[in-house]
Symmetry: C2
Subunit: 198 residues, 2 copies
């Protein structure tokens, strides 16, 4: 009975930890802020969701953001390329099939690694990958890789209704905008980002 309190403390601490890391997938430590490619790849591989933007054909060409889950690979084997599981029942996939222009925006804030910094502070990193949102050929090797990447990080997807005809899309990145400290966006090419070894 003497150890009961300590046991409870451990359980509570563990439960608290579990809740607090919701949305964070790996335990990889935060890279140095001057390592732009490493930091960007860390943000993308650690997050499980973001806002995917398309040009709305239904709202007079407005930029339309939508909450989506994504994956850039199975844990410990990330590619840097975000893959999505979308249905044309949702405007985002419909928009992308008409106009490929798109961006994916991710914040460090929900990872819980920003300390007390405000979500808009440059100290709390943010990344926007801009490019083309394209549908993958369902029979391609890349679609196979992407499906494993998605279903591993988002097991619930396996059970999503067949009738909704979910399909795999990817963002072909053309530009990277990342702020992870004072001094404006970090210079970072798509090539540096994609070739970075995690």
């Amino acid at each position: 009975m003497k150890n009961k309190g300590f046991f409870c403390l451990l359980v509570l601490f563990f439960l608290g930890f579990q809740v607090c890391v919701q949305g964070r997938l790996l335990a990889a430590s935060k890279p140095d802020r001057d390592d732009a490619a490493g930091y960007a790849r860390w943000l993308v591989s650690q997050n499980s969701w973001g806002i995917l933007n398309t040009i709305s054909t239904e709202l007079e060409g407005a930029p339309f953001g939508n909450v989506v889950s994504f994956s850039d690979g199975v844990p410990e084997k990330s590619s840097g390329i975000p893959y999505f599981y979308l249905t044309t029942l949702d405007p985002t996939a419909r928009n992308a099939l008409k106009d490929h222009r798109s961006s994916l925006t991710i914040s460090e804030y929900p990872l819980g690694t920003c300390g007390k910094a405000d979500p808009e502070s440059p100290v709390c990193a943010k990344i926007t990958l801009t490019g083309k949102l394209v549908l993958l050929d369902a029979n391609s090797k890349e679609a196979e890789f992407a499906q494993t990447a998605l279903f591993t990080k988002h097991p619930e997807m396996k059970g999503w209704p067949k009738s909704h005809n979910f399909q795999i899309f990817k963002l072909e990145i053309k530009d990277i905008f990342m702020i992870n400290w004072f001094g404006g966006p970090k210079p970072l090419t798509v090539d540096q980002y994609l070739k970075y070894k995690m």
Copy 2:
């Protein structure tokens, strides 16, 4: 000494709670999912940050999402209208001054009230407010209300560099897209949303 364990439990529980509600501002309980206006206003008043989307003049008209902090009022006195504190050193404000079309996207996920649902699941609510992102007259009553709303929820903003010339913007909402359960977006007019009494 007998109560030491219990005291520690309380402290840990309190600390855990504090950490876990990062980004969640009030303790208002989650409305019924069929109360579309109430749910939408709850999502906007409870969240402190989201993704603000504009049309990029620098990236060939691509939809460009950016992580921003916002406020729709002081706690217990929300307006439903999101206000922002932006600088033209950042592309979002520059874009908005050239093309007002914009949207703000918010997820329920970081509030920690989605249980085990995936961030893309319709069970985990999401809202996109689409409209015009406009600069407020700094001397207006509305700018005064907005600044108090912003600085109350984001105290760090008070200390942001004067030289960066932060200005207050608001989203004039024209359309609401909200999913908070199965069955597609909830029908909800801007009028119903704005007139809802919290």
